[in-house]
């Protein structure tokens, strides 16, 4: 196990696969404009797993859909920013150019394997259609690849299984198939949008191990969207915490888990049920995220923050760089702010 971990670490190179700069995505609705993503910046290195965590509605999925080119326009609009994939700006491509990247260089795994597969097409067809569209290869060759992929994700009797329909598979098996479909064209970037949320806990562990194994074998970069900190602890290299359409804190896994600096990150970590503390009650973060129809001028977490100051209400904090990887948007980092007591920290 230890040896494996070392290998994994080594694989992350300095090459940037993806750079997201100041990404802003809005949706025009009858009620007004919802600012779902309000300026997101992050880089992704080759072979790395970046987890994006946050509550429902914080913009995680919109961010990943924007990278994947799946924001329906209208009503969605990418108002600002760039998504550079290996130097190419995905926001500037035409739909046709984008389709040459979708499923080939970037692919996606969806949350619910029960609905992500088309019930009326065989697994074989759903596996091979992307391959045959993009790589222009024959039926037999595509079938061979499909069988290899099913073996890789651990589905027994792949030859026979190819002819079957989704309803003939269990939930865990379907998620394996969804993963196989995502990987069949050898993508460099895999976006997994809550890939284990809809699965049993035992299956979750298997799927996460599958991710690790695939990453070792294929050296791909993974963006993992989740609100499950257990999943994050298991497979992420870096963690970005999103709140109200912004990344409020980003850093290595150790930095986020052991020295979280943003009050929201700390709240998230505190709200995880713990088995080792028996009579302890759960500590939820009180309140709800702000309405993104009219997001607050200052820090969006102010209303729920125990350490909120006057300035938080009016001005969005600067980004403070705490280490090479660790960045946090919080006024508490300002020298003028009072120092937080150590007992408040999670550790």
């Amino acid at each position: 196990m230890n040896e494996r971990k070392k290998k994994e670490k080594k694989m992350i190179s300095d090459e940037k696969v993806l750079q997201v700069n100041n990404l802003q995505v809005s949706f025009r609705t009858y009620g007004g404009e919802v600012e779902a993503v309000r300026g997101v910046d992050f880089d992704l290195y080759k072979g790395e797993t970046l987890a994006i965590v946050g509550e429902s509605g914080c913009g995680k999925s919109v961010t990943s859909n924007a990278i994947m080119g799946l924001i329906p326009q209208p009503p969605g609009i990418i108002k600002n920013g760039h998504i550079l994939f290996k130097g190419k700006d995905l926001t500037k491509l035409t739909k046709g150019e984008l389709r040459k990247i979708q499923g080939v260089d970037i692919s996606m795994i969806f949350q619910d394997p029960m609905t992500a597969l088309n019930p009326t097409l065989t697994i074989g067809e759903q596996l091979t259609e992307g391959l045959r569209t993009h790589k222009k290869i024959g039926k037999q060759e595509a079938k061979k690849r499909a069988i290899d992929m099913l073996k890789l994700v651990g589905i027994p009797n792949p030859e026979e299984r190819l002819k079957q329909f989704p309803h003939q598979f269990s939930g865990g098996m379907r998620q394996r198939i969804v993963i196989a479909i995502a990987l069949i064209c050898d993508p460099e970037l895999l976006i997994a949008d809550e890939p284990t949320t809809a699965l049993d806990v035992t299956i979750q562990a298997q799927i996460l191990e599958l991710f690790e194994e695939i990453q070792r074998k294929k050296k791909i970069s993974i963006i993992l969207i989740t609100h499950d900190l257990g999943v994050v602890a298991k497979i992420a290299d870096r963690i970005a915490v999103m709140y109200a359409g912004k990344i409020v804190e980003i850093g290595n896994k150790r930095e986020i888990f052991y020295t979280p600096e943003h009050p929201y990150t700390r709240g998230l970590l505190n709200s995880v049920p713990r088995l080792d503390l028996e009579d302890e009650e759960l500590q939820p973060i009180e309140g709800t995220p702000p309405d993104l129809f009219s997001p607050p001028k200052g820090c969006p977490f102010t209303a729920r923050c125990d350490y909120a100051m006057e300035v938080c209400d009016h001005v969005y904090p600067f980004t403070n760089k705490l280490s090479e990887a660790h960045r946090v948007d919080c006024w508490l980092q300002d020298e003028r702010a009072k120092v937080i007591k150590n007992s408040d920290r999670v550790g």
């Binding site: 994947m68 799946l70 996606m108 969806f110 609905t115 088309n118 019930p119 569209t133 309803h167 479909i181």
Partner: protein, 311 residues
């Protein structure tokens, strides 16, 4: 599969028998007899006629003769047109009605599905609003009103198309239009709403994420799933269209089955009533059976048969 088909087939026979029995009972509860309006007939001739058509026998014997005629599919001569057998009437009228019905179904399916699909793809756009306005009009205007309007405007005023009879493909256009508009509208609305639903499904998003062309996504991934409700109503719609042809055939003077069917009831022409009803119901039941089979092909989740190991 074979087992299922045999089972369904037996059920079909039972259904037809029930319909036949009901028809027989209803037919004989209508007051009057086939010979009511023939003033010249004297009692002896009438008695001989009744004897010839076995109408003097007790009801249950008549019923048995009737069942025999169904099984052998020989309904004997018509009472009103003694020189023609019911089978001959059916053989002459049915192909025409069938042609009109099938062309109508085809037109309705093709245009309805196309219209509905485009309306869904351009949701809340001009195409959508136009198509749905057309659909509301199409559903609300009865086909006989539309038929008369078409005859008056296109055939009589503009003289573009022949107003009646059934002798060339040109003659088919107006009756088909009149008959197909309603079903087209219903199919278009159904396709649109189920298409809209299907397009929001995860597997469509996944198909997009695979980088497939929009045409392939719509045709291969969306349409097949969106057509399920359309197939479901096809069975009943067929019945509607086929009975609808009776009225339309009347208006356009088309020598199909509708004419004989309606006349036979007015005349108490028992053999024709029985023959055409049994034939029609057999046809419809068979169509419904076909629809079920198609359903199974479209959606593999619907099991027509139990396989080992399946729940």
């Amino acid at each position: 599969m074979a087992k299922y088909i045999i089972k369904r087939f037996l059920m079909m026979i039972a259904t037809i028998l029930i319909i036949a029995t009901l028809t027989f009972a209803l037919m004989h509860t209508i007051p009057g007899s086939p010979f009511d309006d023939e003033r010249t007939s004297n009692p002896t001739i009438q008695a001989n006629l009744e004897k010839f058509y076995k109408l003097d026998e007790p009801m249950h014997i008549q019923y048995l003769y009737y069942l025999k005629s169904i099984v052998t599919f020989d309904f004997g001569p018509s009472i009103k047109k003694p020189n023609e057998s019911v089978n001959e009437l059916l053989a002459r009228g049915f192909p025409i009605s069938f042609e009109l019905g099938m062309v109508t179904i085809l037109v309705a399916l093709l245009s309805g599905v196309t219209l509905g699909t485009f309306a869904a793809l351009r949701h809340n756009g001009i195409i959508d609003y136009t198509a749905m306005t057309f659909a509301v009009v199409g559903i609300s205007v009865p086909n006989f009103v539309l038929a008369t309007l078409l005859i008056q405007q296109i055939a009589v005023n503009l003289e573009w198309l022949p107003p009646a009879t059934w002798s060339s493909p040109l003659h088919m256009i107006l009756p088909t239009l009149a008959l197909a508009t309603g079903p087209t509208a219903i199919i278009a609305r159904l396709t649109r709403s189920s298409m809209l639903e299907v397009l929001t499904q995860d597997y469509i998003k996944m198909a997009r994420a695979k980088g497939l062309s929009p045409v392939r996504i719509v045709v291969r991934h969306a349409l097949r799933n969106a057509l399920m409700p359309v197939v479901t109503i096809m069975g009943t719609m067929l019945a509607g269209i086929l009975t609808g042809t009776f009225v339309i055939e009347r208006i356009f003077a088309i020598p199909g089955m509708g004419k004989y069917f309606v006349e036979s009831i007015n005349n108490r022409d028992y053999p024709v009533i029985m023959g055409s009803t049994v034939f029609y119901s057999a046809f419809l039941v068979f169509m419904l059976f076909l629809v079920d089979i198609v359903y199974g092909f479209l959606d593999p989740r619907i099991k027509l048969h139990r396989k080992e190991g399946d729940a």
